[in-house]
Amino acid sequence: MHGRPRKAPKPEDEAASSAKAQKLRALQTQFFSFHHNKIYTKEAVELSAKLLEINPESYTAWNYRKLAVEHYLNLPDCNPDSIKSVLDDELRVVENALRQNFKSYGAWHHRKWVLSKGHSSIDNELRLLDKFQKADSRNFHAWNYRRFVAESMKRSEQDELKYTEDMIYANFSNYSAWHNRSVLLSALFDKKAEGFLLKEKVLPEEYEFIHQAIFTDPDDQSGWFYHLWLLDQTVTTDSPLLASSWPGHGSDVLLVGDRCYNGSAFSPFSALHSDSGSFPIVLYFNQPVRGVNSSTVTVECGFNKNEDLLWKPLSASNSQTARVWVAHLKVSSSDLHSTVEVSVGHTKGIISTRGFEYSHPSMLSFKVHVQPMERDSSQVSVAESISLREENFKVYGKQSEESIIDSFDQLIIKNGHETTASNWRFEALAKEIECFRELLSLVDCKIGKLTLARLLKAYDAMSYPFANKLVHSEEVLELYSDLMKLDRTHYQFYKDERSIVLLQKVTSSKGSLLQHCFQYKDSVSSAICGPICLRLNNLSLSRMGAFEKLLWVQMLDLSHNELQSIEGLEAMQLLSCLSLRNNKLRSLTALEPLRKLKLLRILDISYNQIGDHSIDTTRYVCSSPLSHSVGSELNRDETVTSDVALINNWEAFYIFKDFNLNQLDIVGNTIADEKFKSVLVKIMPKLKQLDGKLLD
């Protein structure tokens, strides 16, 4: 059914097809009249069968037949024999329709409907399927139906697994068979079926199996998909784990009223400006979870149990599932020093998307110190005009290194739980790495390189807690650079992956991170002012990542990169100053993650491509247009009552209305004309400075 060339129609074929169309139209007219008048006579039902044999895509006809069946089954003289004959008739019609079009959704659905009535022999279905699946072994309709039949007749997963094996042996270029294999194995793992209790026993055999396909024909992609699934099964731990948090365990948090704090005894990592005396607590899990609330995560501050603490998921969609959760804790201004204890998962309820319970309760404790405000209003206004220009940065002083090093360690949560159980995962990955190095020594294949990069990345991620470094990051970067050259079609994908690996490398050790840490120093005043600025500029990043290591960052310079999206940036809850100058952001909606950054005051999005494209492609990049939230929260009344300029710029309104910015740079974008700027000023009344100009 695949790779067969289409023949151009001959004139006589066209004549035949027009005759067929005429016949079909006549049939259809007659059929609709029966249908509308609810006529279910034998003759009428037969006519619908004739119609379906010619055109199995006629959904109305299928529905009509369902009604007809119901009609017959409800007749008073209905008996088991007559039921059977009615349903057998249906199966026959479906079979004929499938002969005409094997991929008819309506026909397959109708068959399921008939079978679910429970009067027909299911054994027959398997025979029929065998015939169909021989004719077209990859057809996913048949495979879908097969799963339905196997379930109905309680055929064991093991038997079905054997069937996929036979199909794969007949022709391993069969996506559907490999896919069904992954479905069946998942079910067997979940059930903890005999012989499938331990993944470490099953997965090596599966790897062995897929290697045969990959080595025989590395260009065939069906096997690679299965390999990707196996890799996921190998690296993903079942139960979710807490990856990092802010504040870190054992750290000290200094809450200061002013932005300038000199001679602080505490690490700048944990000093935070807070007007209100509240600060965010961020929990970063290794996979998306739901059920984070004040009963699953308790926060004790002195004697205050904070039972009303509200945990919010931070994700692009509005789902209640996220990797990152945030709550805002307010410490009473009377306690200058207090200890906070966060206990995660001591009560059950945190569950991963795959349905596994968070099962490794952990405890974080940190100290909070409050430094009361010493407000000097003139100083404030100067200090708050921050310009992220090269001359204003100073390499972070050596003398401060020690304190950073301590703080850095506190960011990452060590998970000792999985170490012993994970040995097989290491072994499996090591074996795969060796295997694919061998493949690449034989042939230069893109997907082999990509897989090796993924394997090395996974290996590094798994060994990081013990090794404290990413051994293979250089090699992975090189592989992705290679791929970017080899496979231009997927250039952007490789670049995105490469960006993330690069960020992981930068954040993997104190030394490498320090090279990107700068002190912001105002050119006017000589005082060292504000927190550390992390500068990840000029790295040709196209995506952001490694957020779990960057939860502490308050000033971030991402200028002169190639970012098209800043997805995930919402995790950086402490951000107060962000430069995205000279990137490739194409739309206002790309800024959506920033809406969740409540502390953001200074934003530079100058020299991007906002407004270049009339169509906002960001919305299609999102995982699903349906889950995308832009606009869904818009308050209709608010929009209606606002003036015309706001209605015409609803995206700007939606994005910027929640911002609490003091300073915005937007120059160098197509959208940023004077008219638009005036709209922005209207949306953000608190804005003090726009494109370097002080506002009244």
């Binding site: 042996y169 007949a170 022709n171 391993f172 290697h211 045969q212 396909a213 080595f215 025989t216 024909d217 590395p218 295997c435 061998e438 493949l439 034989l442 042939v443």
Partner: protein, 565 residues
């Protein structure tokens, strides 16, 4: 002499063409000539069709072989010149078979002699996409025959193991004996060949490579020895050791190797219900000759079996061929004559042939510088491999013993092809050789590796002594096979019930005003024979088309040719 004449006279007495012998080449020529509207008389001294290509009952095979093994008695009388204008040159037959060795270990097989159809020229198969299948389809001859698939090809070793030949993508994937790297290399090689054949520009094999020896090309591709051996001997079906130029009489060029691969590749999956690359006719290979005879008969060819021919009639003055004298005494005349290669013309002692004939004579003395082929037929009660009944086994050169310079092929055919009693298996073995002793040694080496030869037979001693000779080379390996081969270990080797071993001369077809057809060759299929047959036909009828294409005669041929399920 004055009895009722055993042969009714043939009428008419003049034909365009007389064909003597009903072997496959003769039968095809008879059918082709008849199709070209020639009047043809097709004679055979035997009471059956097929001559040296026939399939015979068990009891008839030994007598057929021995009847062609001794030189016939010298001419009964010096050829007396007829009163008319012809000279008579008497026919004699050349011995074709030698060192015939029949062993029976199961006395009651003879009672079921007719249940057996043993190929005289085995082992032989048809590739699903080879010239014989094309010819069958084009001529509609397939309607007289049915085929079944030969399901697999194995490579054997001296321990009795049979390794399946990874001959397709699915087979490579499934194969348990190849490592991952080997799989990758082999598949890439297949893809290269496919790309080359499909004319893809970027995968073209250079002309220089095409003219180089195939084995050098395989080395250049970095294929490991095991895979090289698979490709050379089990797919390209090379006869001689390609890596020893000293003994290799037929060094395969890359071009030809690739053609062989293409043929093999096109054969796999050509017919839906044939899983392997080969077909085998139900009732044996003899059916092919018979089918072409039927095809010829439909077109008006006249058939007379049991009709020996005694002499050639030549014009006294010109020495030109005129006709033949039959055993019945009748003289039949024709313009052209096609002879089975076993016939030769003897000249009267002391007399010299007429001048013009003298010049023509050299072609009568057929030379056999192509060596010999050793053949063996074995009957067993158990398959060499469980769960599979019809398959081919190749023993590449040096796989059984160091001095083995040619590949040995073995074809197992089961009773579902109606060649033997139900539950039995016929094994056909063949190998090219220089002389009878070498040939025997090759056949015995395979038999000893795969079969248990019982001790209670009259000809047993002979077999045993042969065994002892080669024993020194293979004894130690074969003794291991009972302990630890992965495939057939633990299972008893099939016991030999009956065997026939013989050597056959190899002669090529000759073309002149009298033509000799080729003998069964050492190949696995009929491709070369059909080529030669075609050339002979062109030589005698340069004006005529060899089976012209007719759309009416072969409707839906593909369906008919596919073997029954």
């Amino acid at each position: 002499m004055d009895d009722i004449p055993p042969y009714p006279p043939i009428d008419p007495t003049t034909f365009d063409l007389i064909v003597i012998g009903t072997g496959l080449p003769e039968s095809i020529i008879a059918a082709a000539a008849s199709t070209a509207s020639k009047s043809v008389l097709h004679l055979d001294p035997n009471p059956f069709y097929g001559s040296h290509f026939s399939s015979l009952p068990l009891a008839d095979l030994p007598s057929f072989l021995s009847s062609h093994s001794t030189s016939p008695s010298p001419p009964r009388s010096p050829s007396s010149d007829d009163p008319n204008e012809f000279s008579l040159l008497e026919f004699a037959t050349r011995p074709l078979y030698s060192s015939i060795d029949i062993s029976t270990f199961s006395p009651n097989l003879d009672q079921h002699s007719r249940k057996f159809n043993l190929d005289v020229a085995g082992p032989r198969v048809l590739f699903c996409a080879d010239k014989s299948i094309e010819l069958l389809l084009r001529t509609g001859t397939n309607q007289y025959m049915e085929f079944k698939s030969v399901d697999a090809t194995f490579v054997g070793d001296n321990k009795g193991n049979l390794w399946s030949v990874p001959d397709s993508r699915a087979a490579i994937f499934k194969d348990k004996s190849l490592g991952l790297v080997e799989k990758n290399k082999l598949m890439r090689f297949f893809k290269l060949v496919q790309g080359h054949l499909a004319g893809e520009q970027d995968v073209k094999i250079s002309e220089e490579d095409l003219q180089s020896p195939f084995v050098d090309f395989l080395n250049k591709m970095g294929l490991p020895p095991k895979i090289k051996s698979f490709i050379l001997y089990a797919i390209a079906m090379a006869d001689y050791d390609q890596e020893d130029t000293g003994v290799c009489r037929d060094l395969l060029k890359t071009k030809d190797g690739i053609d062989q691969l293409a043929l093999y590749n096109a054969s796999i999956g050509r017919f839906q219900n044939a899983s392997g690359a080969f077909l085998y006719p139900i009732y044996g290979q003899g059916e092919l000759s018979q089918a072409f005879c039927r095809r010829a008969a439909v077109k008006g060819c006249l058939y007379v079996l049991r009709m020996p021919v005694t002499a050639l009639l030549v014009d006294k003055d010109t020495g030109c061929y005129k006709g033949v004298r039959l055993a019945s005494g009748q003289d039949i005349f024709s313009q052209k004559l096609i002879l089975d290669p076993t016939f030769k013309v003897t000249l009267p002692l002391g007399s010299s042939p007429p001048l013009p004939l003298k010049e023509k004579l050299p072609f009568f003395s057929l030379k056999d510088d192509k060596g010999k082929i050793a053949r063996g037929i074995c009957i067993t009660k158990t398959s060499l491999k469980p769960d599979i009944s019809n398959f081919l086994v190749v023993y590449p050169p040096r796989s059984l013993f160091p001095e083995q310079v040619t590949s040995i092929r073995l074809l197992q055919i089961a009773s579902n092809l109606a060649v033997c009693l139900p539950g039995m298996f016929v094994l056909y073995i063949s190998a090219l050789c220089n002389d009878d002793d070498q040939g025997k040694k090759l056949i015995h080496a395979v038999m000893n590796t795969l079969l248990t030869v019982p001790l209670d037979s009259e000809s047993n001693a002979a077999v045993q002594s042969e065994t002892a000779e080669i024993g020194s080379a293979v004894q130690d390996e074969t003794s291991e096979s009972s302990s630890g081969g992965p495939s057939d270990s633990g299972e008893e080797k099939p016991t030999l019930l009956w065997s026939a071993l013989y050597s056959q001369e190899l002669t090529l077809g000759q073309v002149d005003f009298i033509c000799s057809t080729p003998m069964p060759d050492g190949k696995l299929n009929y491709n070369d024979l059909i080529d030669t047959t075609f050339k002979i036909f062109q030589e005698i009828y340069p004006e005529e088309e060899f089976f012209p294409e007719t759309s009416l005669e072969n409707p839906e041929v593909d369906g008919d040719a596919s073997p029954e399920t």
